[in-house]
Amino acid sequence: MDYAKKDLISINDLSKSDILYFIDTAKEFKKISLQDIKKVPTMRGKTILNLFFEPSTRTKTSFEIAQKRLSADTINLSISQSSVVKGESLSDTILNLQAMKADAFVIRHYESGAPFFISNITNASVINAGDGINEHPTQCLLDIMTIFEHKKEIKSLKIAIIGDIVHSRVARSDIAGLSKLGAEIYLYGPQTLMPRFINSDNIKIAGSMDNAVKEADVIIMLRVQKERTAFYFIPSIEEYRNYFKLTGEILKLASKDVLILHPGPVNRDVEISGSIINSGKTAIFDQVENGIAIRMACLYILLGGRHS
């Protein structure tokens, strides 16, 4: 198995077998994090630049740890203290950093399409760590990895994705990736937050929360941002809590061994009851753990694998 592309920009660029290859590779790397000495020399001598144009805790830390465990040289560029605030263009920023012989850029950007733009102007590898409302491919891969740890197959699973779908890069990458693996996807949330143009038979908009959750094998809950009230997408957080929160009661409708995921950060008792998390019914921390393995695998496949 080989993966020829230099970048990971969109899940849509991966075939089904590509996805499985990333997951299989990640399974191997997961073992490294369980060792006493959590470090391998695989990427010694590689320079990786983490460019986060948007706040991030989980993803940024996860990438950084992945890089360190692979022995890469990692630079975190703090955008708020960079030339970007002096008015330097995105392309100039990248070209200057490329001149410093970066091997890879990990990009988180508030604008959709920024990693794609960057991938076109640099020879270095580009990994999309989340762009605008577009995609978050490594989150999708770690979600798939987590599901595979609990379910034999993804084909024909009923997967409910609930919340702010239309603004969620996680939802968009998950929908694309899980569709490639044959899942039946049910979306639910306020109609204001639902995608309006779906042209795939395996993706359905559920008529109610109950319908979405009923007999679901996997439930992916999404964070709702408080700012969504400002542009009339939702009336209030209270209202969201009352009608779109996953509660223990609703959860009873799901399949007996339902797997609950959430990309984080969680708004407890807004989109999901805190008690569901407290009682250990979610795989949120498995997702975080697998995130490091997936990012190690991505770096390895895009950089190490390609050049070795």
Binding site: Q191, T192, R196, Y232, F233, P235, E239, N242, Y243
Partner: protein
């Protein structure tokens, strides 16, 4: 056990599209099939409806009760009494009270207060935006959950198209119909009546008819694009009728309402600066009145509603500029509509559709709007030939702001039967 037999009436039922002489039996507040033994039973109330029309209880889906906040104009109770006097068994009240009905507390207050009087059915319409201010969505799920049947910012048109779009989508999530007061409020400006020859003659600011039409067009397009269900309130112009034709031809899921004053009188009613003829949308010229009447005959409208808008005598006893918009209508709505029956614009079945069946369907009122076994025992019995005069001293509404005072009518309500309870009029 309360039993009621309505005998020999001409029963007009829009559900079965029939108009036949038959008996109606109501037991414990519900319509039941007539059986031979019920006809002979002893402990039974009987209404002899010879030569009278028996309609499913009339529903006025556009009423302003002024409680809470403006009890000097109308209370929930006086509004209900006016409704019954006008032959309505159900009314729906708009949210622009004070506080605005934009939350479950106000909504429950109105519903519970209305229930405490054994009068007509009251259904509430919640706000689209918090405080009717057009800045944030109201808690529409809460409104639905606490009993509201629709949402509207009636009186304060939703200016921001993105708010309207999101309201349509969000309400769709809860299967809540949206009622639009469609008006370009900036274009209305300081206008107090229809812009035209009469406003020019009186020297007052006019409201151009396009202020209504532009907004209706926008709302039709939004509902079409987002596939949402929308009801357009109080349509008053010829141009709007053209838009209705366009929408209906395109099969868009929108319903349209007009009010009796728009097909009964013209802007000339304001000639003496008559503030009791000041309303919004304003009375229009004869050409528009004819267009509304013809549209009703062609079946373009879904609903006739009164837009009952009480204001105190003191508030109306001033200049056209200062007086508030609005007239009362609950007690004249049916009589004015029966005028179109006599002019052969509408059949009795049409009236039952416009004033009962369609409002129930649009607002998804369970078990109302049709005479079916098991439905609520809501019936309006009409004598279309009875002559009467609308006298100020007989008005049940707390407010008296009507341009129809002292008008003589042909056609009156004889009984309103509400959940089996008889109100003889």
């Amino acid at each position: 056990m309360e039993k009621l037999l309505i005998k020999n009436g001409i029963v007009v039922d829009p559900f079965t599209d029939t108009q036949v002489k038959r008996d109606i039996y109501i037991e414990n507040g519900l319509i039941k099939d007539v059986k031979n033994e019920t006809v002979g039973a002893k402990d039974i109330n009987i209404i002899n409806a010879d030569n009278l029309f028996v309609l499913p209880g009339l529903i006025d889906m556009h009423v302003h009760l002024r409680e809470p906040g403006f009890e000097y104009k109308e209370t929930i109770k006086t509004g209900m009494e006016a409704a019954i006097a006008g032959g309505f068994t159900s009314i729906c009240c708009m949210p622009n009270s004070n506080p605005v009905n934009d939350c479950k507390e106000v909504n429950s207050f109105i519903i519970n207060k209305a229930k405490s009087f054994d009068l007509c059915n009251v259904f509430t319409i919640g706000a689209i935006s918090r405080g009717n201010e057009g800045l944030n969505l109201a808690n529409i799920g809460d409104l639905k959950n606490s009993g509201a049947v629709a949402i509207s910012d009636d009186g304060m048109p939703v200016e921001d198209s993105s708010l309207m779009a999101r309201a349509l989508l969000y309400a769709k999530t809860f299967d809540m119909p949206v009622i639009s007061h469609s008006e370009d409020i900036k274009l209305r400006g300081k206008g107090v009546m229809n812009e035209g020859i009469i406003s020019h003659k009186l020297g007052v600011n006019g409201i151009p008819s396009v202020a209504e039409e532009i907004a209706i067009f926008r709302d039709i397009k939004l509902a079409e694009y987002f596939g949402a269900s929308l009801h357009i309130a109080h349509v008053s112009t010829k141009g709007s009728v053209e838009l209705i034709k366009m929408a209906k031809n395109n099969g868009i899921n929108i319903t349209f309402e007009t009010c009796p004053h728009y097909f009964s009188i013209t802007e000339e009613s304001l000639l003496s600066y008559n503030t009791n003829a000041k309303m919004n949308p304003p009375l229009r010229p004869q050409e528009d009145v004819n267009a509304i009447k013809n549209a009703l005959r062609e079946g373009l409208f879904d609903v006739i509603a009164s837009d009952h808008a009480p204001h105190s005598e003191d508030e109306k006893n001033t200049t056209l500029d200062e007086a508030p918009f609005g007239i009362i209508g609950l007690e004249t709505s049916l009589a004015l509509t029966l005028g179109l029956y006599h002019e052969k614009y509408l059949s009795m079945i049409d009236i039952a559709n416009l004033m009962s069946y369609n409002p129930a369907k649009i607002l998804k009122l369970q078990n109302r709007g049709a005479i079916i076994n098991g439905n609520a025992g809501d019936i309006t019995i009409i004598n279309p030939e009875k002559k009467w005069t609308y006298k100020k001293e007989n008005i049940k509404s707390l407010s008296k702001n009507s341009p129809f005072i002292n008008k003589s009518f042909k056609g009156a309500v004889m009984y309103a039967i509400i959940n089996g309870k008889i109100f003889k009029l």
